[in-house]
């Protein structure tokens, strides 16, 4: 180590300073580091990645629509981030365990979340619906950065069990400012835990550009904690998959944590409650439209003669099917009975709460008699 260390001169905003395998024009370019990891990805595999990206975009559109129609309380669009989400998630093994943030619709879709799982939380029916053990995925996390530590702890458990699984934490560029994310790197490095950190740098944390969080590329932080990292084009599904396979391989071989900064763009508002016109230049969005992650795969597939009308129609039909299922799950939702608010606070009986539940039941019963409300 040199005794005087100077930060890199690259600014955090340089979105071109990334590793990639697929240009905006859909041209497959070489990358010495990434290539080996996607050597097996043939045209069929590419088509399948594309299909998932379209499906997620369809769900996202449905989510926004359902929110507009008052069927969801909120929706956090992942429009523009499909390549990062599908590419990395498809690299995971089903027995790896994922700790997602709230925007990882694509990730939980790949993990096996049902149509209902994709929307009922946003509808406000439940904080979470799926059984984490069933799809090896934790509930969506809203507290920024908290899940990074959970992933490290889970990975420490894997270590103790002696298996070759890996835990993965997903978080945003904003999250890298949180103590929890930094402590996660400290713990991961200290214990050489089999964990992969996926930082989706979508350029924004609500209204704050990434430069509020970091003046220098986020990927540059991990090595200081002893963690190898990669900075990739997060709008490139192949690079996303390759980097994730690299990181997973590193962790799976017992070599400890790895870090990925996926440079992408949040094309929608932060959530349906947000109004990005207050803080961002419409031209920026236009520039990113040209980098659309789906478009470049479509172009590549076309150049490979693997994208014809039939394929497009088939994918669209699939997407429509999923969209309708999501909509049906949303519209068909039945809220818990009032007394249900007491369910699952504790795993074992709790005298205080049990008494409260009883009193509330008595209260509701009084009502039932008086006004016909049922519990």
């Amino acid at each position: 180590m040199a005794h005087t260390l100077t930060p890199t001169a690259d600014p955090a905003v340089d979105v071109e300073d990334v590793a990639r395998l697929l240009t905006e024009d859909g041209e497959r370019v070489a990358d010495r580091e990434l290539d080996p990891w996607v050597a097996d990805v043939d045209t069929t595999a590419l088509q399948s990645l594309y299909r998932d990206m379209v499906l997620v975009r369809r769900v996202d559109t449905e989510g926004v629509a359902l929110q507009r129609q008052g069927q969801l309380g909120l929706w956090a669009p992942c429009l523009g981030q499909e390549a990062t989400q599908i590419g990395t998630a498809r690299a995971l093994r089903s027995d790896d365990f994922v700790f997602p943030s709230y925007r990882e619709t694509g990730v939980i879709h790949v993990r096996g979340a049902s149509p209902a799982d994709l929307v009922l939380t946003w509808r406000g029916e439940e904080h979470s619906t799926y059984d984490p053990a069933a799809i090896n995925t934790a509930p969506l996390q809203i507290i920024i950065g908290a899940q990074a530590l959970h992933a490290v702890g889970y990975a420490m458990g894997i270590q103790r069990d002696g298996t070759d699984q890996v835990a993965a934490a997903y978080f945003g560029d904003g999250a890298t400012s949180q103590g929890d994310v930094n402590e996660a790197m400290v713990f991961a490095s200290s214990f050489r835990a089999p964990v992969v950190f996926v930082c989706t740098n979508n350029q924004w944390a609500i209204s704050e550009p990434v430069t509020v969080q970091a003046k220098y590329p986020i990927a540059g932080r991990a090595p200081g904690f002893g963690i190898p990292s990669m900075r990739i084009d997060g709008n490139d599904v192949l690079a996303s998959m390759a980097a994730m396979r690299w990181a997973l391989g590193h962790a799976r071989r017992g070599e400890g944590p790895a870090f990925i900064e996926a440079v992408t763009y949040r094309m929608g508002p932060h959530t349906t409650s947000d109004d990005p016109t207050r803080y961002r230049d419409p031209e920026e969005l236009e520039r990113w439209r040209r980098r659309d992650p789906l478009l470049r795969v479509e172009r590549l597939l076309r150049s490979l003669d693997a994208f014809d009308d039939e394929f497009a129609a088939d994918v669209a039909a699939d997407a429509d099917r999923l969209g309708s299922e999501v909509r049906a799950a949303c519209l068909g939702a039945v809220s818990r009975a009032p007394i249900g608010v007491f369910d699952h606070v504790y795993a074992e009986p709790h005298a205080g709460l049990d008494e409260q539940r009883e009193h509330f039941a008595a209260y509701l019963d009084g009502f039932a008699g008086a006004e016909g409300t049922s519990r």
Binding site: G73, G124, I206, S273, H359, G366
Partner: protein
């Protein structure tokens, strides 16, 4: 007098504080260009510049810790915590530093920090966006804690909080951000009722109903409904949760002899417990019946669709009023 929403009254309070004292700074996530997710800081960065209205990195401990350093330097930081549920990463800095530094430094260092917290439920929000953490701060010696219930108080008390040399945790009920009211912006904050005083929001003679924040509105509704039923409820808006103005509270209780306390927060060791314990201690011989608390259940805040079963509404308050009046109620026949 002008008719303003609470959000706008707060915005004007901040504007005035920034204009009056160059040492006042605003710190928070998205408070600049966006004006905060609730627009409470709308236009302030444009008016006062990015050196005074500061978009910070996304880290609440960082915001609070740098506010402490700014206070050491003589500034008066006003911190916005984006939502109630995101104050916990800053808890260590608040409890061990903000609350204690004046004491630790023998009075040499002031911590005139205002921590604004958009607060509590009833707006159908996502998890962690409807929390009522006020009891944690009330239990923390060295802090002042206030909760506002109307635009006038919001405007004046915010300016008073910022002017205070002590740290103030300032709770703003999200549910009332868009509620309108008359605001006298010309008021001299030294002449206005100090933020430590409670307010009799409605006079009554049978039962004292004590509350704060958005729940004041529910309490007033309950009082109106009870009137039809021949029950006269006095509603007290505490305004300050630490200290509590027991002079106002006890003079009401001495009159009515019956007490209901209501808040959204969980019941166990909540603010209601403190009020009931103190009122009992101070007014025991005046009490005709046991004071009753009507609170959120002792559960994590439930999903939005279920929050109406969690929040103490008009009916639950009236049921409690029946209880302190020994009239038939849901607890009739239930043993405690």
């Amino acid at each position: 007098m002008t008719t303003l929403t609470m959000a706008k009254a707060l915005n004007e309070g901040l504007r005035r504080a920034l204009a009056d004292d160059p040492k006042v700074l605003l710190l928070g996530e998205d408070i600049g260009r966006l004006g905060g997710v609730f627009r409470i800081t709308d236009g302030l960065q444009a008016e006062f510049g990015a050196m005074r209205v500061i978009d910070t990195p996304l880290a609440e401990a960082g915001i609070m810790g740098t506010a402490v350093g700014l206070a050491f330097r003589g500034y008066r930081p006003v911190v916005e915590i984006q939502f109630d549920g995101f104050v916990y990463p800053a808890f260590d800095q608040i409890v061990c530093q903000v609350a204690k530094l004046h004491y630790r430094s023998h009075g040499n260092v002031n911590m005139p920090i205002t921590v604004r917290i958009p607060w509590a439920g009833g707006i159908g929000a996502a998890e962690h966006h409807s929390e009522s953490p006020e009891a944690y701060f009330v239990h923390t010696s060295g802090l002042r804690v206030v909760a506002v219930s109307n635009p006038q108080d919001a405007h004046v008390m915010l300016r008073q909080a910022i002017a205070s040399d002590d740290p103030v945790v300032f709770f703003e009920p999200k549910r009332l951000y868009h509620a309108k009211g008359e605001v006298d912006m010309g008021v001299d904050i030294a002449d206005a009722p100090p933020m430590g005083l409670a307010r009799v929001a409605r006079e009554g003679s049978d039962v004292t109903l004590i509350t704060y924040g958005a729940q004041v509105t529910t309490a007033l509704d309950a009082a109106i409904a009870a009137e039809d039923d021949g029950v006269s409820i006095e509603v007290i808006d505490l305004r300050s949760l630490s200290p509590v103005d027991y002079r106002t509270v006890t003079s009401s209780v001495r009159k009515t002899g019956r007490v209901v306390v209501t808040h959204e927060a969980a019941r166990e060791a909540g603010v209601g417990a403190e009020i009931v314990a103190s009122v009992t201690e101070r007014c025991f011989e005046y009490l005709e019946s046991a004071p009753v608390r009507v609170t959120g259940h002792d559960i994590p805040y439930p999903p939005a669709k279920l929050e109406k079963h969690h929040l103490p509404d008009l009916d639950r308050i009236l049921d409690a009023v029946d209880r302190v009046l020994d009239r038939p109620n849901s607890m009739t026949g239930v043993s405690l």
